[in-house]
Symmetry: C2
Subunit: 580 residues, 2 copies
Amino acid sequence: MERFLRIDMTGKTAAFEPVPDRYKGRAGRWLTSSIIHDEVPPDCHPLGPRNKLVFSPGIVAGTAAPTSSRISVGGKSPLTGTIKESNAGTGWGRRLARLGIRAIIVEGEPSGGPLWLIRVGADGVKFEPADPWVGKRLSEVYADLYKRYGDKDRIDICAIGVAGEHRMAAAGICFSDQEGRPSRYSGRGGLGAVMGSKGIKAIVLDDTNAPGVTLADKDLFDTGRKKLTEALTSHDITKPKGALNTYGTAVLVNIINEAGALPTRNFREGRFEGAERIAGEAIFAGNKERTGEEIYNHACSPGCIIGCSNTWHRPDGSEHTSCIEYESDWALGANCGIDDLDRIAEMNLLCNEYGLDTIEIGGAIAVAMDGGLIPFGDGAGAIKLIHEIGEATPLGRILGAGALTTGKAFGVERVPHVKGQNMPAYEPRAIKGIGMTYAVSTMGADHTSGYTIAPEILGVSGKLDPLNPDKAEVARNFQYATAFLDSTGHCLFIAFAILDIASGFEGVIEECNGVLGTDWKLDDAARIGKEIIDIERDFNRRAGFTELDDRLPEFMTREKLPPHDAVWDIPAEEIDEVLG
Amino acid sequence: MERFLRIDMTGKTAAFEPVPDRYKGRAGRWLTSSIIHDEVPPDCHPLGPRNKLVFSPGIVAGTAAPTSSRISVGGKSPLTGTIKESNAGTGWGRRLARLGIRAIIVEGEPSGGPLWLIRVGADGVKFEPADPWVGKRLSEVYADLYKRYGDKDRIDICAIGVAGEHRMAAAGICFSDQEGRPSRYSGRGGLGAVMGSKGIKAIVLDDTNAPGVTLADKDLFDTGRKKLTEALTSHDITKPKGALNTYGTAVLVNIINEAGALPTRNFREGRFEGAERIAGEAIFAGNKERTGEEIYNHACSPGCIIGCSNTWHRPDGSEHTSCIEYESDWALGANCGIDDLDRIAEMNLLCNEYGLDTIEIGGAIAVAMDGGLIPFGDGAGAIKLIHEIGEATPLGRILGAGALTTGKAFGVERVPHVKGQNMPAYEPRAIKGIGMTYAVSTMGADHTSGYTIAPEILGVSGKLDPLNPDKAEVARNFQYATAFLDSTGHCLFIAFAILDIASGFEGVIEECNGVLGTDWKLDDAARIGKEIIDIERDFNRRAGFTELDDRLPEFMTREKLPPHDAVWDIPAEEIDEVLG
């Protein structure tokens, strides 16, 4: 019997309650967005008592379905003011599902005072003061919490770093990976600041003696699980020793650079002369040189059979950081003009330690560089800047508030954002479909809201010309499909396989039907996805957003991006057609 | 023959052009808002090349009409993203009118490079590099410019300080007063940053051999001028040695405090225990004690017969600063919990020196105090903070970006703003009509957009209960009347007299008809005012603003304001009725 766990931080109470009928079958993003839509006044201040923070594992999380341990976190974003769902791959999501908790709803507001640790187990909920861990690096916090609450086989951890403690709009929520590292993030949109505003430092889950997930139809579930597994293990991108397992997501550096769409030096150029030096291939080769071994990537969460998480090693062969995602590599590298993997690794590590969204921080540093604070390419200087954030100095507070605030502070017009969220690692002037996705996303500029890069660059599910502006339909379909996938608990990366291999997609639907006892067909994925997007858009509309917010920044319509010398030239009417 | 002067900073060209027929008769705010509406894309970046900066003197500026030397400055605001008009009292407006220039339109963008001085005279326009004056205090800049271009009998100066050079969103545009002080500001909305983005340090006007203003009907004009003069010199608020001439606008400190509406310590309370020590009466008494004289106030601009500008003196009797307006006194005093006039005077002086809006800066410091940066009441600390702005340190850049950005940097929810502009010195929870004005103003929270304080507190044009929420009509009427007055060139303070003395209002209309040859009746004032507001609202609508932006911040609906323990409780529908 699945339940909601409602935690009210005003009085520090925790209460289980039945899942209302109207939410039956909803999970992950579908559920977090539904609860935020229904319970949070859209005009509330994101850091005030009326905002809520909702955690929900996906439909098949906690089962034997492959690559399915995503946890969705929802709230009103302090970065964008929109509704926000941000999901991460971690055993934490799996444990929450196995505890029979469909969602944790955090509400209320502590009247100042200290931060708290919350431990949730099959035996109940416990609050403890977090004072000893306030201001510390997350690696120290995690090490202590594993000592205090049980080792990594028994518990997983969700916590904020100093960025969240200081309510910075670029603060993420950090989850443990399988090795217990503080490295998997619900990174975007500043949900770490919301968690900080609620007075929560960490939530520890222990699923000892948990009931586990009940399957409505085990045979059907197994049929689906096997189809999906077959697809994932045979597709070139997702199979063992395939592109992701060998080079990680950073395999994209050379590919996007070749396409002239790797945003370089704060989106001034589309091609980076140092791309090869920071690419996934360079990470693989560098690790081999430093450790003497060919190191294939690992899974961030139990049950993942893709295994895309890399590790970067120091010259002496010791581990430096994990994982350097493509987005982080680009944000802290090419976008800042930095081509030194050791510097990028250090910046990545510090973001993990301080609890920061790497994309937003790379964007903020790039904007500050554009404003003359330090030169593009100054890796040592950029590392110092991230320490400033960790120390919450005034300069650190500017950067920690994100790229748009940094632009405001330094008087810089060139801020590549939509709705206040910095664009990720794909130049919309050179890849038009992803630009339409950024524009209409319910959460500001976000590649994970509709990864049209698959057909526009990677040739997955067909091949489209990235410079062709006729992308309304693909942008729409990807948004809907993604919202559905974000609700299943599956990692978005299964999309590479299931878009090309139809039986894989069937498998996902069968898994869901096997868990829920539903009778969904393939078409239901788009129906459910649309329902989710509509819920989110309704929230945003009531929060004051209109189609005029679905626009890319003006400078992209004027400044030509080398090497294609393209500008952003999609007419407003075509953008408004994407979601209607 | 009146002309426009169009200055294109891309190529540093200046060209005179005829006033288009559709703009005939428009001046001041009416004209700046018309040109911004017609020529500036509403979605442009305020600091980018597509924004423009427009200067226009009012209809009767440059004539013998009393208290009529206001200059309107218009643009898209970097603080709010809305259209903006901000006017100041200065001989500069009078000289522009006498030069026969109906408006200066600044456009384009220098490609980086140095800032420029522009001198405009009857003999033409000249550009000179401003390098020697970049980074200097405005008192130094002004002193040098008077030496270079002529003394204060011959020229007036408009310039930005270091805040505008750094494109800070709280940067104002500073005009000379009659003594040549850098002290009269188009303060609000960050138009100083727009001037900085255009590459202009200063515009010097020399009206030697200027044609002057042509009157269509001198007799009618004189009739009106005399009626207005009679009203101003007989009303208790505006007459010689009346309230304004004796105590300045700071006469309001005790009055608003008594009403429980003096926002104290970042709008946490409505009454300040130190009010008497910073009130206009205390300024008058302190000056007398320090100089041995009863000092009545002076006029900021030629032809003003109210003379409300005070001067504060140091213990040794020397001048410290001029003028400490009520708003500045409150923003830098009560709102920061500071009750020491010498500290407030120093802060006021520094804002004048660095080119800052005192209201926004007082608001930003108060928010930072609320976030724990320094304690409320720490005058020495607050002075240091303003120096940080002047030095453009990271902390200074946060504060210089305004209260909302400061709140974002410090994670503070309690930011008393509308559309990103900090509220001025009247608590909307205690004075409901001014709250409705803040909400619907086309420029963010702004008392000068509709000064309902007149009837709600001062008993001018009747007496309304400030706590009575039924204020839609008065808020509407004041918005319209104000937009009209802002177009005449008259100071808004004539409203005290002409609202109570009908012949004064008649006089204003007769003056306008005398200048323009029009046949306006009393009713035309509201018609023209509505037309102006409609133009501004249309710009804002196309910039993405909706009725959901016409709201006060959420915390005011929750937090009770002592001493009345009132919350902001005007329903949204009633706010939306104000302007329809």
